[in-house]
Symmetry: C2
Subunit: 272 residues, 2 copies
């Protein structure tokens, strides 16, 4: 297996911060990128209806909506509010035709990781019927363990797989992001285990040491991740969907967006 087809390339909107929703969709269309990974803040700015219209007009399709999740909280009331917000995110995904809502689980409310992890699973179970009804799949995305304290108590693919297996619904899946899982000694076994549950695949690269906690991701080829090997493993597990390029990096954000699109396409073909 060599390079993946260009028809699987998706631009996750987080890669280009300076463009609004319309500009990003237009940029994808001009660059021949058929997919886009949407973010809720940009979707809110344009509105779901106009986003859906602009997508339809250009032929660019949404691969996913980022993000739901953030379930753990100190009080019952706050957890209920988070669940409501996830229902709104499901509505938005359905309205724009995004087949998948990516879930970033959220950090613990205190030192009690076990409780936080239970609250994530309870939160997912609470919104699952609504997601099924609206035809939106939920993707548990394990984040790199360096985000365990501030973004996600789900930190390994094994953990996400176990949670998805317990929940046991076709509506629940996992998202594999190479930046978050590349270090894991059992990542290939867990990708195989995930199989048809894989509903998203995200690429970037690991710069060593990371230049920033949050904005330290590299462009594919600039770092240490065996991106192609991971992509081939995900394909072998049964995934044939879009491949989202998602790069949080101030240097990339500071580049002219058109140049970012050229770079993303080149590196996608060379390394994915």
């Amino acid at each position: 297996m060599s390079e993946p087809g260009l028809d699987r390339l998706s631009l996750n909107q987080a890669t280009i911060q300076s463009w609004d929703m319309r500009a990003t969709i237009d940029g994808c269309a001009r660059a021949g990128i058929g997919w886009i990974g949407l973010w809720r803040d940009k979707l809110a700015a344009l509105g779901a209806r106009d986003t859906a219209r602009h997508l339809a007009a250009t032929g660019v399709r949404p691969s996913s909506l980022c993000r739901g999740g953030f379930f753990p909280a100190a009080t019952t009331e706050e957890r209920a509010r988070r669940i409501d917000d996830n229902r709104r995110a499901i509505d938005e995904a359905a309205e724009v035709g995004a087949p998948v809502l990516v879930l970033v689980s959220g950090p613990p409310a205190d030192r009690d990781l076990d409780t936080a992890r239970r609250q994530v699973e309870e939160g997912i179970c609470a919104v699952l019927p609504y997601a099924a009804e609206r035809g939106v799949r939920l993707a548990i995305e394990p984040l790199h363990p360096m985000f365990a304290g501030d973004r996600s108590v789900v930190v390994t693919l094994a953990q996400a797989n176990a949670m998805a297996e317990r929940i046991g619904s076709p509506t629940i899946g996992v998202a594999v992001d190479v930046y978050h899982v590349w270090w894991d000694p059992v990542v290939y076994a867990e990708i195989a285990r995930a199989g048809e549950r894989i509903v998203g695949f995200h690429v970037s690269d690991w710069l060593a040491p990371p230049p920033d906690h949050l904005l330290g991701r590299g462009v594919m080829g600039d770092g240490l991740i065996e991106v192609r090997r991971l992509r081939q493993a995900v394909d072998a597990a049964g995934y044939a969907g879009p491949i989202e390029v998602e790069i949080f990096n101030q240097r990339v954000w500071d580049m002219p967006p058109e140049d970012v699109l050229v770079l993303v396409r080149e590196r996608y073909l060379a390394y994915c």
Copy 2:
């Protein structure tokens, strides 16, 4: 189980950078801290013989020597040099009476993590007979996955346990550092699995988000880690040895060392 006895408190020398070897040993003696975790650079500055003498004169005992490891390299020659350096580290540990040499495995030489991990295991096997002969146990220390690219391809306790089991010698053990393992959903199962193989236990805390990639560790009680729960798990697994306080943090390094010793002792009693 409540607080551990003060007789198990060890000051890892990395916590106080401004003191040389003599000053740190004297500081421990004055503060009633009976153990010290030594570093090779400070040991080299004073010399192994004088370090051993000063330890004997004050009654402070070395809990470990940091660090060997760094096995993966691009060429056979360089890997042989690393192995030689590990033999020297074993000599130094034996000369000062440190029962344990902590191994930080080292980063990969390129994108090939599997090869790097094999080279770590080969490197350990190469120096193991020498360590056994000199009466020094080797501790594989899994580092937090955020160091996979620049410091250690061994990133989980499961991986360290599996490696130690394959090597299968009483000379090989593992070191559990709460900063490196706290996020792991299977950490308690892996601590139980490690059992008598645990030859070191290190404490600090996780600040969220970490203020720095390398120097972002907190003092116990300032962050998210369930330090006492982890210590009790390690004790339950059979570990009864020294508890090393190892805090890489510029703010701590900038404090008057005597104040650091007071803080370390207080927080050790309150949170360990």
